[in-house]
């Protein structure tokens, strides 16, 4: 009824679409860093959108199946193999008892998603199984633990398998370096020069990048802007601390904060960003809210209509 963890990987977490409705208590949403890949994973298996999957960051994971199932890989290419044979993301594969599934290290992108038919089974905490290590919430244990060697990851076994793969045109392009930004929040409090610098400079992902947020290195903007009165932080908010280096707040962000924010990364671009690694370069591109809305609807329609 399960995968047995032979090697736990650097950071492998159980995720669903997130813990919603508790941010007023300071509980973050969590959820898949690359939501687009996650949704494709469930779509490939005709699962519920919210069915729990493994988010495999970097790789070094090895699992042994104890029962048959059908799996889908989505997101990064982490050099996955099934019984030693290479397998590719954006496809489904049949798995038998005794099969060994291994993820080595990133070839393209950073985070891979492993979906099983029907989803992984775990008891939700506050309505979700999304693992947030910092808050000790979610995951297979309910206490926010990442995978450990020897863990059993339960699913409902099935012999049913439909071979499917994504059309090439639908596969997201992780080479894209432009990240779309909606300018809300305190955009007006930044000078014209700061805004111009923000949208015309290259920024490098620093070593301080995790599920909470990505800290960037590049041309500082809005240095020494005074703090603001703490307010709620939306997914993708780009806050500018006093050193002027942007921090993009992602799925495990804190819920409130007092740094001024120049804008918000769109949900679709946030998924792309989740596949970038420290050292990668990105640039920001202005996007109006109506464009962002359109992009999101198109992406979701593609995923749902394809089923």
């Amino acid at each position: 009824m399960a995968f047995k963890v032979l090697k736990p990987g650097m950071l492998t977490l159980l995720q669903d679409l997130g813990r919603h409705g508790y941010q007023h208590l300071g509980v973050t949403s969590g959820g898949p860093m690359d939501e687009v890949a996650f949704l494709w994973g469930n779509s490939l298996l005709d699962n519920d959108d919210n069915a729990a999957q493994l988010e495999i960051t970097f790789g070094m994971l090895s699992l042994e199946a104890t029962q048959p199932t059908s799996i889908a890989l989505a997101g990064a290419d982490l050099g996955a193999t099934l019984n030693g044979d290479s397998i590719m993301p954006w496809q489904t594969y049949a798995v038998k008892a005794g099969d060994v599934l291994t993820f080595q290290q990133p070839k393209f992108g950073l985070r891979a998603y492993l979906a099983v038919k029907g989803g992984f089974l775990a008891e939700p905490v506050l309505g979700s199984v999304a693992t947030v290590i910092r808050e000790q919430l979610g995951g297979f244990t309910g206490k926010g633990d990442k995978l450990q060697k020897g863990d059993l990851l339960p699913y409902a076994p099935t012999q049913q398998h439909t071979p499917r793969h994504l059309p090439r045109l639908a596969i997201p392009n992780y080479d894209q370096t432009e990240i779309d930004v909606v300018t809300g929040y305190q955009y007006k409090s930044f000078s014209g020069l700061d805004r111009a610098h923000f949208f015309s400079s290259a920024y490098t992902l620093s070593q301080n990048c995790d599920r909470m947020g990505y800290r960037l290195d590049g041309r500082p903007i809005g240095k020494d802007q005074p703090g603001i009165i703490s307010e709620g932080i939306a997914y993708g908010a780009i806050q500018i601390p006093s050193d002027g280096q942007p921090i993009i707040l992602l799925k495990d962000r804190q819920t409130i904060g007092g740094y001024p924010k120049i804008g918000c990364v769109t949900s679709i671009s946030g998924s792309l960003l989740a596949q970038k690694k420290p050292g990668d370069k990105i640039g920001f591109r202005y996007m109006s809210v109506d464009q962002a809305e359109r992009e999101r609807h198109l992406a979701l329609a593609r995923i749902h209509q394809w089923r």
Binding site: H20, G21, Y22, Q23, H24, L25, G26, V27, S29, V125, L126, R134, E135, Q136, L137, V182, G184, Y185, I229, S230, E231, G232, I233, A234, Y235, G236, A237, Q254, T255, I256, G257, K261, C264, V265, T266, S267, V289, D290, A292, E293, R296, H297, L300
Partner: protein
């Protein structure tokens, strides 16, 4: 326990609604913090709770962040919905709001309040006076955040205003009661923290298996009640952590 607020009410002059992303809106009530503004935010938060298509509400000092389901609302629909909810709010009820009062027992002792002495020195008070001032003020929970269940409580009496510590502690023990500038708070989990620690409560601030989840919610009134070391230990408090 219920408690009658005495602050006066008023209709907000202008609430600015702005889109911050394709799935969130920020309502800005004012540029400055006041009980009046906090009352208005509480009212609007309550009015929007359980509204179809609204995923999360994050009230803070002067703002309310509304996270919405982009499948239910587009940019026009969400603003229209918010405007119609705001138009229906009975602002006159803000002043006689019945707020929930939370009383938190605290052991103010040297083993669990390592900054008591420094705070007393900084404020030119003796330790007893620091404890008296801290525990005779009724605070308001202006915002919850930083970590789950961490309530920013204000305002401390002016005589107790102290800066944050220059070097934050890497681990603040569970239940620590601390002050910084005009605010006070209880640490609901072990985290780094730079506030000045006065004591510790044996009371659990968050319990995800209970119905109430978090003891303090935004808008609540909070008081601290001094307890002896014996009472603290009897209620399950511990003296470890420093």
């Amino acid at each position: 326990m219920m408690h009658n607020e005495t602050s006066t009410s008023a209709t907000p002059t202008h609430i600015e609604i702005s889109l911050v992303s394709d799935q969130a809106c920020l309502l800005q009530f004012s540029d400055s913090i006041s009980d009046e503004v906090a009352d208005q935010i509480s009212l609007v938060t309550t009015a929007l709770q359980n509204h179809q298509g609204i995923i999360d509400l994050i009230p803070s000092y002067t703002t309310l962040l509304v996270v919405f389901d982009a499948g239910c609302f587009d940019r026009f629909a969400i603003q229209k919905t918010l405007q119609s909810v705001l138009a229906k709010v009975d602002w006159s009820s803000a002043g006689n709001r019945i707020s929930h009062e939370v009383v938190i027992p605290v052991y103010y002792g040297p083993e669990v309040g390592p900054d008591l002495e420094d705070v007393a020195k900084h404020c030119q008070l003796d330790i007893e006076e620091v404890i008296r001032l801290h525990s005779t003020t009724t605070y308001r929970a202006y915002a919850i955040g930083f970590t789950p269940g961490f309530a920013f409580l204000g305002n401390t009496p002016e005589a107790l205003h102290v800066p944050r510590k220059t070097t934050p502690r890497l681990k603040v023990p569970l239940g620590s009661v601390a002050i910084a500038e005009r605010q006070t708070a209880v640490y609901p989990s072990v985290t780094p923290g730079g506030w000045q620690i006065l004591g510790r409560t044996p009371t659990k601030l968050v319990d995800w298996t209970s119905d109430s989840l978090a003891l303090i919610k935004a808008g609540d009134s909070v008081r601290f009640k001094p307890m002896s070391k014996e009472e603290f230990l009897a209620q399950g408090g511990n003296l470890d952590g420093f």
